[in-house]
């Protein structure tokens, strides 16, 4: 099934079920928001599934043509956003770029950071930043939404807690990060609000592309209209989603509506390009001694999308332009 949140009706938007081809939608009468649906997943999921079936068959009452631009992030705000860094090629390149050490246990102990979740940008919202000097970057990722995950969940059990998959633009302010990480408490100012794809998709809807652990499709990123990268999200992912969830739930439970991210998708095959500017800059330094791709400037645009093997958009696109933030 596919769901989204209209960007009206309150801070959590209005839950809709979206047709497989993303052209039509129908409101859900039983619950108002996606968070509410996840809070009562056992009671609500069959209602959503049934609506989805009817919508795709053209049988849903009160369905309407969908304009994806009217959608917020599927969870416009969330109680938990924990972002992994599961593609080690990205970790290695970006840490080299900022002169940071690689952790000894890089291959056995997942990297994951606690992200801010109190307000996400919508998939078409501008990215407001006060200064170009902060090193504005995008990061194209895959993320999952869980139901209630008990503390101590095993990797084997974690897969069944994944209720939806979606895309993320995890905006990063590269020039604020080194000082922040040097303090030892992780990211804060370096990670402003992220944006998610307009539509969240249940695992079974992804068919064979979803193997219960990762999403085996290419994730495409365009920067100012030019393809910047299209790495395969199923390749070089050292820690799959169940591993990331089990890591996050080692000492505490995760509440329904928790979002767990993959980290920047990155393949060792350099012909696949990059999902963030920092990585490309590091490759330029390695190959040409100096970076030639600048970070984002006001007016620059990033477009993130994933197509199915038939070329159809699965989640809708994230399409965002950086603008100068002016305080009112």
């Amino acid at each position: 099934m596919k769901v989204g949140s209209l960007n009206r009706g309150g801070r959590d938007g209005t839950l809709i079920v979206v047709s497989s081809d993303l052209t039509r939608a129908v409101r859900v009468t039983d619950v108002q928001t996606l968070q509410e649906a996840l809070d009562h997943w056992k009671d609500v999921s069959s209602v959503l599934r049934s609506l989805y079936r009817q919508l795709n068959q053209g049988l849903a009452n009160d369905s309407f043509p969908l304009n994806l631009k009217e959608l917020a992030s599927p969870l416009p705000r969330a109680y938990q956003w924990a972002d992994g860094s599961a593609y080690l090629n990205h970790v290695e390149l970006v840490r080299k770029a900022r002169g940071a050490e690689l952790p000894d246990n890089l291959r056995t102990d997942p990297l994951i950071y606690q992200g801010g979740s109190d307000g996400f940008l919508g998939p078409f919202d501008p990215i407001p930043v006060a200064s170009e000097d902060w090193g504005i970057d995008f990061e194209a990722e895959v993320a999952v939404i869980t139901d209630d995950v008990p503390m101590g969940v095993t990797v084997g059990e974690a897969s069944e807690h994944i209720k939806f998959v979606m895309l993320v633009n995890d905006v990063s302010l590269r020039n604020l990060i080194p000082n922040e990480l040097a303090k030892g408490f992780g990211f804060f100012q370096g990670k402003p609000a992220s944006a998610f794809s307009p539509v969240a998709v249940s695992p079974e809807e992804l068919g064979t592309a979803w193997d219960g652990r990762k999403l085996n499709l290419s994730l495409s990123t365009w920067f100012n209209g030019k393809l910047f990268g299209n790495p395969d999200a199923g390749v070089d992912m050292a820690f799959d989603f169940p591993s990331l969830i089990a890591h996050a739930a080692k000492t505490r439970s995760l509440a329904a509506g928790s979002i767990i991210g993959s980290g920047t998708v990155s393949n060792r095959d350099r012909s696949r390009g990059c999902s963030c500017i920092a990585e490309r800059r590091m490759i330029e330094i390695i190959e040409q001694k100096t970076p030639s791709t600048p970070f984002m400037r006001f007016g620059d645009r990033v477009h993130i999308e994933m197509l199915d093997p038939e070329g159809r958009s699965i989640f809708g696109a994230i399409d965002q332009q950086v603008i100068k933030y002016e305080k009112l």
Copy 2:
């Protein structure tokens, strides 16, 4: 005014207004939860204030005797929990204890970490931990709840966004933290669910003890029935709450219901004791070369409370026992 959340009625509990002496309460008919009140603060705050006045005068309809043990944390889950580390005496001692460097800009750049907020323990809930080997510790802190804070808020503007003050037990797993911080992404497994005082109190209700920037009263921590520390929360706080809020909001807005913590309250005056075990152990190492106070074991109990100058509990107590977590 004072508010709390009955631990029933849903995941966010049921908002109540609590009498000044914490003995009586009344439900709020206009909104169901504290988050909802904060989401609509401009419309709701006067209703709450008026109810609070009536309750204290014995004029509130349907008021009832309050058992504090029926309360969850004021926000049983939140969209944002950002915890500072504003008492540098704590930072210096704890970093010494784990052999970590002190940041160069310790005195000019606030330390703050993004905490997990998807589920808080109630003030009387047991603290479930799977292993005593993880180095179970409490941290007694003060925290504030904000309304909507715009990105780029100044220190001068930030104070007016503080709507409530409360106490926190920021549970820490000391033996998991060094490896976690070495990876560079901050805390995750080392910070399981925190608990907050049963009651949140508006700044004006705190009278002269609240100076718009910090809370000038002693915070008492008892460990297994013995006073462990009672430092003054208004002393040695290098970064006040408006400074922490401005730091947190430098690159993004903070949504209504954001919780900002002070970090472990700690005075340089050693006669005031400690608000966490790690600090006391470091002092023992400095004074006696080896620590003699063990971290918490299953069955150990911590009690955190703040009294007004007349000896009355302001927020109610946090009183928690560590238990062994057994996965179902």
